[in-house]
Symmetry: C2
Subunit: 215 residues, 2 copies
């Protein structure tokens, strides 16, 4: 993570120890963490300054308002998801929709795993302001790209035909988004392993692989 | 739904129209709805009384505090889930663990579908009070019964062996609990159809049934 403090080229030893958070990136990380732990409404700039061990004006030096912090956090999550979905689409151009869907699901899982705090915040947004409603709209736009792939894969006969494709989309999002409730980076399963596991459980299911069936 | 108003035997025609909520059950339903929409902390007894069109003392006649309303809501969700898991366990006594697991998952889905607002509230609880922590502990207890079945089914060879059973439990909860985000009763899919769909997607996966393989 590049921070303002390191990008100035100042030797790390000069930075006061035990008081990180003087730079923009640390302010944002701590804000996201507080918003997730206490709720956005219940967190004030004073709380954030206290948590960082700095003055309120040090926070305002980087962000003009609490909402600007929320905007930066939601942008990070949405841009990560949007770029991942776009990259998966480009990488699988011309392939069957079921392959494109699977690649997209795996890309989304990796973004969630790598940006867990910001995505957690995004998924908790309930539309209480113009900013929140705009974020929800952008999220719906990304979700819809995945839902289109589900419908196309179903139409191509590569998904089971007995479940409504829109229900399939919801169930995929349900399993993938649940990561924010339980996955913690640094454990035995990295983002790639997690992506492979989730897409395999979704597509092949929980039963043992039957003998003689190549998946 | 039985209410105090109907259980007195008074003719319904005498109840003032357009002002439901004079009875305990209606107060609780409206409180759960407000807690889910605005958040528990952001909702006051005054808000609730205003929403019901009654005085605050009319609310306090049924519940001594806001926390008593939360306690009743969480009890409803937890008792529903607990009874369903217990009934599924009794009904499948002696069967393979994978069958018991599947029956339990389906029972849990039906409870979620039938008690969506109360379960939504339960799943949002973050441990901000003794009451909330106690509810989380009871929820963990129920979750653990399902996790035991997952581990047993894996040990019996009836679940795929390449995924950690604890991860399987998380993914099952993820898909099932996501219902609170998207399922709305009264649509084309009733609770039984939803339970059958979710357990089939979990166990058999999203791919079409291969020719010649009986599932």
């Amino acid at each position: 993570m590049t921070t303002d403090a390191t990008s100035t080229g100042a030797p790390p030893a000069r930075r006061p120890r035990g008081r990180p958070g003087h730079d923009r990136e640390a302010v944002l990380r701590t804000a996201i963490d507080l918003f997730n732990r206490r709720g956005y409404d219940a967190t004030s700039i004073s709380d954030l300054a206290a948590e960082l061990g700095v003055t309120k004006s040090a926070v305002y030096h980087h962000f003009v308002s609490k909402e600007a912090l929320l905007a930066a956090a939601l942008d990070e999550a949405l841009e990560g998801l949007s770029s991942a979905v776009e990259a998966a689409s480009v990488a699988t151009d011309g392939e069957p929709s079921s392959v494109r869907l699977r690649t997209t699901v795996e890309a989304a899982v990796r973004i969630l795993a790598d940006n867990l705090p910001a995505v957690t915040l995004l998924l908790r947004v309930r539309g209480n302001s113009v900013l929140e409603r705009s974020a929800m709209e952008r999220r719906r736009h990304i979700d819809e790209r995945l839902a289109v792939l589900v419908r196309q894969a179903a139409a191509e006969g590569d998904l089971r035909g007995d479940v409504d494709p829109d229900v399939i989309s919801r169930l995929i999002f349900g399993m993938v988004n649940s990561l924010t409730d339980w996955y913690r980076p640094g454990g035995p399963m990295d983002a790639d392993a997690l992506a492979a596991t989730i897409s395999s459980v979704l597509f092949e299911g929980l039963r043992p692989v039957p003998d003689g069936v190549v998946r």
